[in-house]
Amino acid sequence: MTRRPRVLVAALALAAVGCAGGSAPSRATRVTVPVEKTKTLVVMGTSATVGDGLDQQLKLQDAWPRIFYRNAFPRATVLLNAGVQDESTEDALRDQVPLVEEASPSIVAIWLGAVEASEQRPVTQFAADLNGVVRRARATGARVLLADLPPVAGIDIGAYNRVIARVAADQGATLVPLHAQTISMLPGQASAFLPDPAGHRVIARAFEDALHRRPTN
């Protein structure tokens, strides 16, 4: 008499478990996974920054922004190269700075002034434009690395480098002293400031050294 109800209860329990296991979920579910955090590096510049003069196949590996990105940053870093061929600082204010503002970067690396120095444009205009570029880059909250111009035969870079140093100091950017480096340039190019692969490596190293220096503020 006591055994039969127990068997009945066990059978009902088994049936209930079977039904629960067999019924399909009415709706597919998806889980939200945490997404890895990344930093963003934006590079601004002119022809050398986009790798002009380098082999077309290898400019994505051997241009200084690539080497700097590869060697100085952790893998979880996004690189945006805002550089445009033959752009002056005035052009960069229009074409490159909006990308910096959109990207909210952690680091902005700038190498501008080659066009102005090559064409010996007025220093006062260059100063105003560069000041605008660096001020707006700094306004995003990013650390700014600002490179000056390396020595190039036949071009007076002194006045431009003094402007770059002053803007860096005024805006709290870290100066990247390319004037102190020996950078080998490609011969016979339209621009005098087009480094060869070895020159790109030297520039990248100079940016890396500046990145590791303590920011002024």
Binding site: A24, P25, S26, R27, A28, T29, R30, V31, V33, P34, V35, E36, T38, Q57, L58, L60, Q61, R66, Y69, R70, R75, A76, T77, V78, L79, L80, N81, A82, V84, Q85, D95, L99
Partner: protein
Amino acid sequence: MTWRDAIVMAGRSVRRRAGRALLTVLAVALAATLLTSLLIASGAARRRVLDQVSEGGPLAGIQVAAAAPDPGALDTDQPSPGAPRAIDDNALARIERVPGVKSVVPVIVDPVRVVPPTNPIVKATTSDADNEGARAPFSENLVGADLSHANDLPITVLSGRLPRAGSLTEVAVTLGYVRRFGLNRSQAARIVGTEIVLGAPRLFGAIGPQGQIRGRWTRAAVVGVVAQQAANGEILAPIEQARLAQDWSRRGDNPAQFGVDPSPYSALFVVANGLGRVTEVRAAINRIGYSTSAPETLIESVQRYLHVVEIVLGGIGLIGLLIAALGITNAMLAAVRERRREIGVLKAIGARDRDVRRVFLLEAGTLGFAGGLVGSVFGYMLARALASVVNRYLAQEHLQGVAFGVPVAVLSAAVVGATLLALIAGTLPAQRAAGLPARQAMGDR
């Protein structure tokens, strides 16, 4: 007579005729070995064949394209898709609500520029010229999938592992990528651990006379080599990576110029609750307005053939077990004849018919259990040995090996089945022993 007495008597009888018992156990063990090894091998082969047919994905997988269904091709496995139709979050939610849907995994495909590793992988195997070629950037598709549901996708890991879901710095690559470096499938592991740089393109039409293309460049470690059919592309990444790349490209001017998909999701991979519901789920998704494809007809045909093979192999094993069972009956009948006097004494001192029956059934069950246990262990070992030979051959042919686990259900069923069969085989001798009148049993001596 208590159960304990019956067990002791059955045990004593087995020990007394150890040679005969051993031969009987051996017969059952051989039959069980044959049955288990055949069933394990056919189960492994079945998994491998279905895995191949379903391209590594779940059998009830359905691919949903970002296109309207072609009404003329609804009943085929691989219909040609109709006009493009975007899959957005709303469509995704509607498909998730379709009855019979187990999971929906979205897939995003993005065109990217790939910069291969800077340190040459293939220097030892190819010429410097080939090596330079292998370093050249190339355009490819980045396939982003929700890898938290990787088991629901047609992806097979060939070497290494899958990228972590949510990772922005890990990718897997296909054999197509591996072959770019002059490597073959057996050398795929050499790619694992290298780094690639991926660039999502974006056109800034207002810059320069022809606009300016800028890339959003990311670096990723190659953590695995896979065979994948989620979408067309050599780089497999977590969907979060592909979504960021897609967002970047779509914010530019004329993203279609690079082949950027106008649909938020390029495809969906839907898994139905069982192969039987695939047709119903496909029809429901078609009604929502999307083209679907699934190898359901092919899988069903293959399953039918595999089932026939399993029945034949199981039948061979069962014939072996039946022969062993006849051996048990024969041995037990001989034991009844030899033990008439003992049965008579038992009955004379008060043992009932059912006590005698219990002793003989216990003896038969013990032989069956021992044979089944030994046979299932040997069957498993034999199947493993066969699998290792087959896998060695498949590895030589650069094919994926057969996955081999411990089939607890088959092993347990072999032991239980052999025991039950032995009990059935022992029923006739036990019945005959129980039916012997005490006086006749004693008098025969």
